[in-house]
Amino acid sequence: MRGNATTSLLRRLLYSLITIVGVAALVFVLLRMVPGNPVATLLGERADAETVERISSSLGLDKPLPVQFADYVLGALSGDFGESFTLGKPVVDLIGPAFMNTLRLAIAAALVAWVVGIACGLFAATHKGALVDRLFMGISLLGVSLPVFMVAMLLQYVFARYLHWLPVAGISDWTGYVLPAIALGWGSAGSVARLVRSSVIEELQQDYIDTARAKGRTKRQVLVLHALRNAMLPVITLMAMQFSGLLSGAFITETVFSINGIGRLSVQAITGRDIPLLQGTTLLIAFVIVMGNLVADLLYGISDPRVRKGV
């Protein structure tokens, strides 16, 4: 059993690695298929052909694609992702701090999403059909369906510009995270609430709940000690996937609230045709998503004894 689990873990890791390399190759090729010379864009319209060529060759852009890719992969393995065209700094030095900002934002957003989502979902499930239930589910539908930028701007307008309770944009202390975290986590809170609700309701209808009641457990104890754990199994998977989604999907929130995160950096890289930087951010995001799915799978395997043996 043990050995089986280890091989399956190794297999999954290998798949994840293949996925990431695949994404890297794809990004690499796609970015070079975009018409127009990035160096020309970089230097402006009046740059002469000779300068463009000189700089292109110094950046290695004149070599054949496979060679360029091999160079890139070899560099990446030693932590060198090239130098940003537009900012003139190593990509790693730009991505590092930006990723930390995004990570903090994603953690804050996940906290909002999970605390609010689980609490509301539980409450709705235990008051199924009551007014609160319908109210919560209505709001959560709004949460799932409202676009992030609308929530972000609405929050910004009401709580920052109008009520002056919280900073409008930028991060100077933790208060700066409050509005972006709510804006980013809002949608996830909605889907967590819905899944928790349906999952808890389903578990409470299972036969083993009757068994627990027949032992002398109260309704509340049955919920907390028996139903909740099982109901959380699918929720854990959702949360792990959500977290990578929050990390990689913060573009809009970061832009609205002027947070120097990965999302904003990517947008900057796109507008500046900054290929090394864009490669770096895209690869990082791909890595985060692949890891998120891997962790989701593993968590599910660990938390459910019925799958644990067979992973």
């Binding site: 083993y208 068994t211 027949a214 032992k215 002398g216 754990r229 004894p305």
Partner: protein
């Protein structure tokens, strides 16, 4: 000293649905004496489980006990609130459910699920509770209890799971054990083992209320039998009396189904027709539409339970001329 463990009188349990009130249990009275094994037999849907759930105080919405009384060891249960009932459940009365496959929590080790009952009702150390769990698990015939203690339900066979359920129900030595179709989901050999186990338990002084749609199971276990049809008791008698001298046409039908099985006859005799809609019962006898001995009175006048012999009661118009059968 009280002689009866359970005394149910005029119990009515109904479901309030969109299509009206469904009288799942309609004026049922029954009694289980100390150390006695009492059976309830009847077709699917006739309200057997609802009697059990009513006694446990576990009728689910939109169902509700609407009348009658349930007295366990001299204590009236219908007036207790859920908190008080929680003390009674598992300690004084326990239940084994029909489906061993789904009646255990899939993500909890079975030992812990059995031990939980002790933790709910007694202040004992973990070690003591574990020791008692291991004892009861081996008492119900589970091999290698130390290893099984840490197993998850999906790692056990149906028969073993049902033994775990019985261990759970017995660990507090309750005065009454309700077994609702405990063998229906099991194959024949395992069924025989579980019946033997329940029989042994009954000899230790626990009263047992055994529910089944299978008269064969009832015959092997019960001392006294209630025959239920469409939410009501239609006949009750000592087990030997019931098999020797069945009076209700419905009981005849059930017996026919068993004996044709026994005699290996190719044609399985069943009762024609189905259980009537409990939301819309006929005015007279509920069995009248399916009864081959139906008389004029049966369609309009509802029969009452009448004593027809020692400990033998019958709810049928045929009693007026007992000679007919």
């Amino acid at each position: 000293m009280l002689n009866s463990t359970l005394e149910v009188s005029h119990l009515c349990t109904s479901f309030f649905t969109d299509r009206g009130e469904v009288k799942a249990v309609d004026d049922v009275s029954l009694r289980v004496d100390k150390g006695q094994v009492v059976g309830i037999v009847g077709e699917s849907g006739c309200g057997k489980s609802m009697v059990a759930r009513s006694v446990m105080g576990l009728v689910k919405k939109p169902g509700k006990i609407v009348g009658g009384s349930i007295v366990l060891n001299g204590q009236e249960l219908t007036s207790l609130d859920d908190k008080e009932l929680c003390e009674v459940r598992g300690r004084d009365v326990s239940m084994v459910f029909q489906e061993p496959m789904t009646s255990l929590n899939p993500t909890m080790r079975v030992g812990r699920q059995v031990q939980e009952v002790v933790a709910i009702h007694e202040q004992v150390s973990k070690e003591q509770a574990r020791q008692r769990t291991l004892e009861i698990l081996s008492a119900v015939g589970i091999p290698e209890v130390e290893a099984r203690y840490d197993a998850y339900p999906h790692e056990l066979s149906g028969g073993l799971r049902q033994r775990v359920m019985i261990a759970m129900a017995m660990i507090m030595r309750p005065s009454l054990l309700i077994a609702d179709e405990p063998t229906t989901a099991l194959d024949a050999t395992v069924e025989a083992q579980i019946i033997a186990l329940l029989k042994r338990l009954a000899h230790t002084g626990t009263s047992v209320l055994i529910i089944s749609h299978n008269l064969g199971v009832i015959a092997q276990l019960a001392d006294y039998v209630y025959v239920m049809y469409a939410g009501r008791i239609v006949e009750k008698a000592d087990v030997c009396e019931l098999f020797d001298n069945p009076l209700h046409p419905y009981t005849h039908g059930l017996l026919g189904a068993v004996s044709s099985l026994r005699s290996q006859s190719k044609v399985l005799q069943t009762i024609p027709g189905v259980v009537p809609n409990l939301a819309n019962l006929p005015a007279g006898c509920s069995f009248a539409p399916r009864c081959d001995r139906c008389m004029a009175a049966c369609d309009s006048v509802r029969p009452e339970l009448v004593t027809v012999g020692a400990g033998h009661e019958l709810c049928c118009h045929l009693t007026k001329g007992v000679d007919v059968l």
